[in-house]
């Protein structure tokens, strides 16, 4: 018949390596017995004393961990930051690549749009879970290995701060280019039914794009989305970052991407009459639609990446704004977003 003490001691010892058990058992039993004697001589009943002593010693698992000098955490403060960095940078690189690759494979394999989305999502989630697991396992091993052979710390030096983010003038160039391209594309889109090199039997031009787009007004919706997308880029350029605006911009971008994807999936973009009249194979038309779906996927990824880059690059301390005198003036200037100091 095992007493409470026997069960407690067994619980502690079972978690410790064999060589240490005998010595520890003798010491632990002696300590418990001494403590019980102490309480009994103070007037407590033997059973109550044993209970109280074991309760004060606490969870046998914790006691065993303390005896073994093992870390009672998975990844400690020394390595946690590195672990976070590795996980986020791996995720930022690997997950988009996986998503695009799987989406491409599905699109080339002629899958249904729903299937494409489902498989891509599934593959991305599986990859993410694997990344988390193996990264965590690796760092947990490093943590325990480092206990025996402490790694020399990597000293942080101010060199790691890196260069200034690219100046705003560069991005203005991008913005103007984007506006020109967008205007050109919209013009082409709207004029295409009238100015087409391909003529039908009656001599009227056959537009590249499906008349369905005009019948349903989808073309105007698409033009609106392009203009909204352009607008968001201007917003991003001129206004300081804030969370509601950033989320709204992200939603607008994603809406554009979804529209592209849906347009491709609907096979209603390229005029089916155009292909035969221009001497194109049906396959070419299908590829055109697939291209739209692929572009949709890529836009999703770039939208998220842009949103994240904006978040990271948001100006917390605008350059040169905190001057000792004129603090009030600078604060006012900062609030309208056009920080002259920054340029």
């Amino acid at each position: 018949m095992t007493t409470m003490t026997d069960r407690y001691v067994t619980a502690v010892l079972s978690r410790l390596p064999k060589p240490r058990r005998a010595d520890l058992e003798r010491e632990l039993r002696a300590s418990i017995a001494d403590a019980v004697d102490g309480r009994v001589s103070a007037g407590e009943a033997a059973g109550d004393a044993e209970y109280a002593v074991l309760r004060d010693l606490g969870d046998p698992a914790r006691l065993a961990e303390a005896y073994a000098d093992r870390p009672q955490f998975l990844i400690g403060p020394a390595h946690f930051l590195d672990y976070k960095r590795v996980l986020t940078s791996l995720g930022a690189i690997v997950l988009p690549v996986v998503a695009v690759a799987v989406a491409l494979a599905q699109v080339f394999g002629d899958a249904q749009p729903g299937e494409i989305i489902g498989t891509t999502l599934g593959a991305t989630i599986t990859t993410a879970v694997h990344l988390c697991f193996w990264a965590t396992l690796g760092f947990a091993a490093i943590e325990r290995g480092a206990l025996r052979h402490p790694l020399p710390g990597r000293e942080w030096t101010p060199d790691a701060l890196g260069q200034d983010p690219p100046g705003r003038r560069v991005r203005l160039g991008d913005l103007i280019g984007l506006t020109v391209v967008a205007a050109f594309c919209i013009a082409v889109l709207l004029i295409s039914p009238y100015l087409s090199p391909v003529r039908d039997a009656g001599g009227r031009p056959i537009g590249l794009f499906d008349p369905w787009l005009w019948d349903t007004g989808a073309v105007y919706a698409f033009v609106a989305l392009v203009l909204i997308g352009l607008g968001t880029r201007y917003l991003r350029y001129y206004l300081p970052w804030n969370l509601p605006r950033a989320l709204a911009i992200l939603v607008a971008d994603l809406a554009g991407a979804v529209a592209l994807f849906a347009a491709g999936a609907s096979h209603h973009v390229i005029n089916s009459a155009f292909g035969p009249a221009a001497g194109w194979d049906q396959a070419a038309l299908d590829w055109g639609h697939r291209g739209l779906m692929i572009t949709g996927v890529i836009v999703v990824i770039t939208s998220v990446a842009d949103a994240f880059a904006d978040y990271r690059g948001r100006e917390l301390v605008p350059a040169g704004s905190l001057r000792l005198n004129g603090l009030g003036r600078d604060r006012g200037r900062r609030s309208n977003g056009l920080g002259g100091n920054g340029n």
Binding site: S31, D56, L57, R62, L63, Y67
Partner: protein
């Protein structure tokens, strides 16, 4: 965080190192687990049993204590005693403690 938790947390931080020095000083005369616990308590260093016992083993592993099984009595007990390195460590810790004490007095003196 309620007041007591805050105080308890800081007190724990303050006392964390003192138990080691107290053990090294008290164990100049050999003693064993439970009696040491009582001795520390009487000297004003209240420690939990589940903190002290692993601590004694850790100090022994670090060479600051030596141990011996005493089989004279009916109940064999493991006696710990401060080693030579432990004595040196105790001196180093004590002098550091003294300088801290002087520094605190100076600080309090300046403040009041």
């Amino acid at each position: 965080m309620p007041e007591d938790e805050l105080i308890a947390g800081h007190l724990q931080e303050l006392r964390r190192g003192t138990v080691v020095l107290a053990c090294l000083l008290i164990l100049r005369r050999p003693n064993y687990g439970y009696a040491l616990l009582e001795s520390l308590e009487h000297s004003g260093f209240a420690v939990d049993a589940n903190t002290l016992y692993p601590l004694l083993r850790r100090l022994e592993k670090q060479g600051l204590l030596t141990s011996d099984w005493n089989t004279e009595e009916a109940r064999p007990r493991k006696f710990y005693r401060t080693s030579a390195e432990g004595e040196a460590m105790a001196e180093a810790l004590t002098s550091d403690w003294d300088s801290l004490d002087a520094a605190f007095r100076a600080l309090k003196g300046k403040a009041s």
